[in-house]
C-alpha cells in the first residue's frame, strides 16, 4: 500500500516537473533564439563597420540589387493591393461615414486605417511572402553549396558581405514600398470617393491634410522601418541555420515566414497599443 502511494507521489512529482519543463522550454528557446538573432545583427554591423576591404561600391552593389528585387519588382503587386485597399475602405465606410459626420471624415478614416495600420501590415506581409522567403532560401542554398565557406576562404566576411547589405536594402525597400502603398491606396480611395460621392479633389486633399499629424511620420518610419528590419534579420538568420543538406532549405524558409509574420504583427500591435494609450493619456481619458 505504502509502495503504491510512493509510486503515485513520485509520478505526480514527475508529471509536475515535466509540466514545468514543457512550459519552460518554449520560453528558454525563445530567449535563446532572440539572443542569437541579436548576436548576428551585432556581428554583421560590426563586421561591416570594421571591414577595411569592403568598399562602399561592394555594399552599394548588393544593397541596390536587394532594393531592385524587394522594392521595384514588388510594385505591380503593391499597386493592385493598394488600389483595392483604398477603394474597399471607402466603399465599405461610405454608409457609416454619412452617420458620423459625412464626407469630412474621409481623411481621418484613410489616415487611421491605411497609413497607420493597414499600409505597414500589408506591405510587410507582401515583403515576407516575396523577399523573406527568397532571402532565406537563397542564403540556405548558399550554405548548402558552400558559398558561405568559400567567401570565408577568400577573406570575405559573410556577415558583412551577405547579411548587412540585405538588411539595409530590405529596410530601405520596405520604407519605399510602404510610402508607395500609402500614396496608391489614398489615390484608390479618392477614385472611389469621386465615383460614388462626387467629392472634389481639393476637398479630398484638405481632408487628408487636416487628418495627418507630424506623429504619423514618426509612426510610419517606426512601423515600416522595424518591420523591414525584422523580416530581413529573421530571413538571414534562418538561412544561415542551414547546416549541410538541401532538405533543410524549405524548412528554414517556412520558419522564416512564420516567425516574421508573428514578430511583425506583434510589433505592429504593440506600437499601435502604445500609440493609442499615449493619445488617450494626452486627452486625459487615461491617467
Amino acid at each position: 500500500m505504502s509502495a503504491q502511494q510512493d509510486a503515485l507521489e513520485r509520478q505526480s512529482q514527475l508529471s509536475f516537473w515535466t509540466l514545468i519543463e514543457r512550459l519552460g522550454r518554449p520560453v528558454t528557446n525563445t530567449f535563446a533564439y532572440t539572443w542569437q538573432v541579436w548576436l548576428m545583427i551585432y556581428l554583421s554591423f560590426r563586421a561591416a563597420f570594421y571591414d577595411q576591404a569592403q568598399g562602399l561600391r561592394t555594399v552599394f552593389g548588393v544593397v541596390s540589387a536587394q532594393i531592385y528585387f524587394t522594392g521595384w519588382q514588388a510594385m505591380p503587386l503593391i499597386t493592385v493591393l493598394a488600389l483595392a485597399t483604398g477603394g474597399i475602405i471607402i466603399l465599405q465606410s461610405s454608409l457609416q461615414l454619412s452617420l458620423i459626420g459625412g464626407a469630412s471624415m474621409i481623411g481621418n478614416l484613410l489616415i487611421v486605417v491605411v497609413v497607420r495600420e493597414v499600409g505597414p501590415l500589408i506591405t510587410a506581409l507582401i515583403v515576407i511572402a516575396r523577399s523573406g522567403t527568397a532571402v532565406a532560401s537563397e542564403i540556405g542554398n548558399m550554405r548548402v553549396n558552400r558559398e558561405i565557406e568559400a567567401l570565408e576562404t577568400m577573406g570575405i566576411n559573410p556577415l558583412s558581405y551577405i547579411v548587412f547589405p540585405r538588411i539595409l536594402g530590405g529596410v530601405i525597400s520596405v520604407l519605399c514600398l510602404a510610402f508607395y502603398f500609402n500614396v496608391i491606396a489614398l489615390t484608390g480611395g479618392f477614385m472611389v470617393a469621386r465615383f460614388i460621392k462626387e467629392i472634389p479633389f481639393s476637398f479630398y486633399m484638405d481632408s487628408l491634410a487636416q487628418a495627418i499629424a507630424i506623429e504619423d511620420v514618426g509612426l510610419f518610419f517606426l512601423k515600416n522601418g522595424f518591420s523591414g528590419f525584422i523580416i530581413f534579420v529573421v530571413a538571414c538568420y534562418q538561412g544561415l541555420l542551414v547546416k549541410q543538406s538541401p532538405h533543410e532549405v524549405p524548412q528554414v524558409t517556412t520558419k522564416a515566414v512564420v516567425n516574421s509574420i508573428i514578430y511583425v504583427t506583434t510589433f505592429n500591435l504593440a506600437v499601435t497599443t502604445l500609440w493609442y494609450l499615449n493619445q488617450l493619456m494626452r486627452l486625459g481619458l487615461v491617467q
Binding site: A47, A150, T153
Partner: protein, 238 residues
C-alpha cells in the same frame, strides 16, 4: 580593428583539440595534439570517414575546435576575430571537394572576386590574370558562364585555381584531381611545382583519391586518426 602582423608560417600546432559537427555526437577529433610539418607537400591520409576533409578545414581555420587550441606560429586562432585573422587568411588558399563557387557569378568573376574585393590589383589586371588562366587551362569559351552551366570537373578546376589566385604561401586542397581529367591534373601539378620553385608557395596540404598525382607531387604522408597524427617522411604511395 586591424589584423595581426604576419610574416609567414613558422609553426602549426594543434593542442588538445576536440571537434564534432553536432554537440553531443561522436567527436571526429578528440584531444588531438600535434605539430604539423611545414615546407613540404603533405598528403593527408586516413581511413574512410576518419575526417580528412574536416582536418583540412581545421587547418585552414574554416571550422574551430570546440575545445583545445590551434596555433599558427604563436597565435591562438581560436581566440582571433575574423578581422584579426584576415592577414593570415589571405596567405591560405583553400579548395573544396565539391561546391564552393558563388552561384550568381560567372567563372571569371569567381576567379577575380578575391583580387577585386581586397583591391590587390585593378579590374583590368584581374581580368587579364583570369584570362591567362582560362587560356592555360582551356576554358576560354566557358569563362563567362555561371557555375551551374558548366561541368562538375570545370567547377572543381575553378575552385582549385581560385585557391591560388592570391599567391598564397600555403594551399589546402580537398581532393583537387577527382573529375578534372588527366591533362588538367597534370597542369595543376605543374602549377604547384612552378609556384614552389618561384618561392611563392611553401606549404601544401592535400587530400586526394588520385594516387598518381600525389606521387607526382612527391608528397609525404600525414596519417590522421581521431586523436593522433602520424607523420611519415617516406614518399606517399611509393
Amino acid at each position: 580593428m586591424s589584423g595581426v602582423l604576419f610574416d609567414g608560417f613558422k609553426r602549426l600546432r594543434f593542442e588538445n583539440a576536440c571537434f564534432a559537427y553536432e554537440a553531443g555526437s561522436q567527436p571526429i577529433f578528440d584531444d588531438l595534439t600535434c605539430d604539423l610539418p611545414l615546407g613540404k607537400n603533405i598528403f593527408v591520409a586516413g581511413q574512410s570517414g576518419s575526417g580528412q576533409s574536416t582536418f583540412l578545414k581545421l587547418l585552414a581555420v574554416l571550422v574551430q575546435p570546440q575545445s583545445g587550441h590551434y596555433y599558427i606560429n604563436d597565435l591562438d586562432t581560436t581566440e582571433m576575430s575574423f578581422e584579426e585573422f584576415l592577414p593570415i587568411r589571405l596567405k591560405i588558399g583553400y579548395s573544396f571537394d565539391f561546391g564552393g563557387l558563388i552561384a550568381n557569378r560567372t567563372l571569371q568573376e569567381n576567379l577575380i572576386l578575391p583580387l577585386l574585393y581586397h583591391k590587390i590589383c585593378a579590374e583590368e589586371e584581374a581580368i587579364e590574370r583570369a584570362r591567362k588562366l582560362a587560356e592555360h587551362f582551356s576554358f576560354v569559351r566557358q569563362e563567362h558562364k555561371r557555375p551551374a552551366m558548366v561541368s562538375g570537373g570545370l567547377r572543381k578546376l575553378i575552385c582549385v585555381l581560385r585557391a591560388f589566385i592570391l599567391n598564397p604561401e600555403m594551399v589546402v586542397l580537398d581532393d583537387p584531381f577527382t573529375g578534372v581529367g588527366a591533362d588538367i591534373s597534370r597542369k595543376i601539378v605543374r602549377m604547384i611545382q612552378e609556384r614552389r620553385e618561384a618561392g611563392d608557395l611553401k606549404h601544401v596540404f592535400l587530400v586526394s583519391r588520385e594516387e598518381t598525382w600525389v606521387r607526382e607531387l612527391n608528397c609525404e604522408t600525414l596519417l590522421i586518426s581521431r586523436n593522433a597524427v602520424r607523420y611519415q617522411e617516406e614518399r606517399a604511395a611509393s
